[in-house]
């Protein structure tokens, strides 16, 4: 490892300490990109820095989600330009002409408005986490689809769902959020809930707040902890007795309460929620059982707990986790 000796340690020190100027930060990033070994060495120094203090570690956020959020904010932002006086006058004239044109068209064609573009999201096997234009979040389960008008400029926030999805809706008292699924409409103000459509029923599990489920003229209110069900054949709305099993929402919330269930069932749920694949190198381990609860923990943490609890080893290779070991019997 000869390159290790030539590491720009002083530059990295300044960088990690938060002392780097923009130019130095660019130099660090350029250096990392220069060579694969550089990346590795950088990671090692970063690990030293991160692990030295039990404070918040560096973690790259979900880039796709961050881009979605940014795009939502970008729509509707005008270009801000520096203008020369002459072009200002020109702009004024253009504005006047524009207003005249708009008035002309409004008077001529009444209230005809251009229909906004429809955004469609669809999932295959993998689930998908998204941020909607109003910053509500949605987790679309496997084989589901969601549609909505770009920008939510209507008086209500309409989305059309088929399949299953989890919604965490931002509160906008004057702009209700409405999910249309099959014949059912679910209207909310600000809450989190799950909608699942099957061949026979549409079920709404509410985690926080309350929603109104309606079909035709009839409607019911579903509150936190309750599940509202619409029987498609009987065309009937009703509440399920008792609380629902919150593990059913695990794919979206990453909140799990495992109560003496098999490792096979546990990993099946984790695979979905975290988009990983679990491989049992020792098949006998599938039947080990354990109880534990996790509240939106990093996947590495969960497998650490599993390996300690069941005396197994969990090896990470990219998106795959290999489980091996003597196992729970001994």
């Amino acid at each position: 490892m000869s390159t290790a000796e030539n590491l720009p340690y002083e530059l990295l020190g300044r960088y990690f300490s938060g002392e780097a100027t923009p130019e130095e930060a660019m130099a660090v990033d350029d250096w990392i990109r220069e060579h694969r070994d550089h990346r590795k060495l950088y990671d090692q120094v970063a690990a030293v820095w991160d692990d030295a203090a039990l404070q918040q570690r560096y973690r790259l956020p979900d880039k796709a989600a961050a881009l979605q959020e940014l795009k939502a904010k970008m729509t509707g932002r005008p270009v801000v330009r520096k203008m020369l006086p002459l072009s200002r006058i020109a702009a004024g004239l253009v504005l006047l002409a524009g207003v005249a044109a708009i008035l002309f068209f409004m008077l001529r064609s009444g209230n005809e408005r251009e229909a906004p573009a429809i955004v469609s999201k669809q999932t295959g096997e993998a689930i998908r986490r998204d941020t909607l234009p109003d910053r509500s979040t949605v987790v679309l389960n496997s084989h589901s689809a969601l549609q909505y008008a770009e920008g939510f400029r209507d008086t209500a926030r309409w989305v059309k769902l088929s399949g299953e999805a989890w919604f965490d809706v931002t509160s906008q008292p004057h702009k209700p959020f409405i999910v249309a699924v099959g014949d059912v409409r679910i209207e909310v103000l600000g809450t989190s809930f799950n909608v699942r459509q099957s061949d026979t029923a549409i079920a709404v599990m509410v985690k926080t707040g309350a929603v109104r489920m309606s079909e035709g003229d009839s409607s019911i209110q579903v509150k936190a902890g309750q599940e509202g069900v619409y029987h498609i054949a009987r065309k009937e709305l009703g509440l399920t007795a008792g609380a629902f099993n919150s593990n059913q929402l695990g794919y979206a919330t990453r909140v799990f309460n495992f109560d003496n269930i098999t490792l096979k069932e546990i990993t099946a749920q984790l695979e979905k929620a975290y988009g990983i694949r679990v491989v049992f190198e020792n098949k006998a381990l599938e039947d080990c059982t354990m109880s534990s609860s996790f509240d939106n923990k990093p996947i590495e943490y969960i497998f650490e707990v599993i390996s300690v609890t069941l005396n197994v080893t969990c090896r990470f290779e990219k998106e795959e986790v290999f489980i091996n070991g003597a196992g729970c019997g001994g």
């Binding site: 290790a4 590491l7 340690y9 002083e10 530059l11 990295l12 020190g13 300044r14 960088y15 990690f16 300490s17 938060g18 002392e19 780097a20 923009p22 130019e23 930060a25 660019m26 660090v28 990033d29 990392i32 060495l41 090692q44 120094v45 690990a47 030293v48 820095w49 991160d50 692990d51 030295a52 203090a53 039990l54 404070q55 918040q56 570690r57 560096y58 973690r59 790259l60 956020p61 880039k63 961050a66 881009l67 959020e69 940014l70 795009k71 904010k73 970008m74 932002r77 005008p78 270009v79 801000v80 330009r81 520096k82 923990k297 990093p298 590495e300 943490y301 650490e304 707990v305 300690v308």
Partner: protein, 184 residues
């Protein structure tokens, strides 16, 4: 004399391209200053939003890059300035406690602490002041009656020694494992 990012559709694509190219680096940089993942993300997004608004005034790739880094830098300093003002009113914030990786890092943390103890006294003091107390280089230099350059050199030295010790050990363990496996 508007220098353009092109047509509306291309503009969005260009911003997106910049986002993909620079997000990682910018976010990491923002984190080094703010020490908070979420705040760092907000900072980078705010800067990209500004880029989007100013898209008409920005010319080519190269200047976009330095625009972004410089903007992140100033944005973060601004956030910190506001935090200082807030801190004057509120009691000192308790350090952000993270459950994350608790199990994984405790052992590593213990090992690092051992190695930090074995650094030379000056080196250890400077590293601790920067890493654990979050002091600025200039403050540390003033405290200890040293030049900023010395602080810089000592910090570099600390990182170099710690990296070498920690990762050579990992490699040794790895070799030991391999050796055992082979010999069994």
């Amino acid at each position: 004399m508007d220098i353009h990012f092109g047509k509306a559709k291309d503009q969005e694509k260009l911003v997106e391209e910049c986002f993909h190219t620079y997000f990682d680096g910018l976010h990491r940089y923002a984190f080094t200053i703010l020490k908070d993942n979420d705040e760092a993300k907000d900072a980078v997004q705010a800067v990209f939003l500004k880029l989007w608004e100013k898209r008409a005034d920005i010319d080519e790739q190269q200047s976009v890059k330095s625009y972004l880094y410089t903007a992140v830098y100033h944005y973060c300093l601004n956030v910190k300035r506001h935090e200082k003002v807030k801190d004057n009113y509120l009691a000192q914030r308790p350090p952000a406690f993270e459950h994350r990786n608790e199990l994984v890092s405790k052992e590593t943390h213990r090992r690092i602490m051992e190695h930090i103890d074995s650094l030379s006294p000056q080196c250890r003091l400077i590293f601790s002041k920067s890493r654990f107390e979050g002091r600025k280089y200039a403050e540390i230099a003033a405290d200890l009656g040293l030049s900023v350059k010395t602080v810089e050199v000592q910090m570099g030295k600390a990182l170099k020694i710690l990296r070498a010790k920690l990762f050579d050990i990992t490699i040794m363990i790895l070799f030991a494992c391999l050796f055992l496996c082979v010999s069994i």
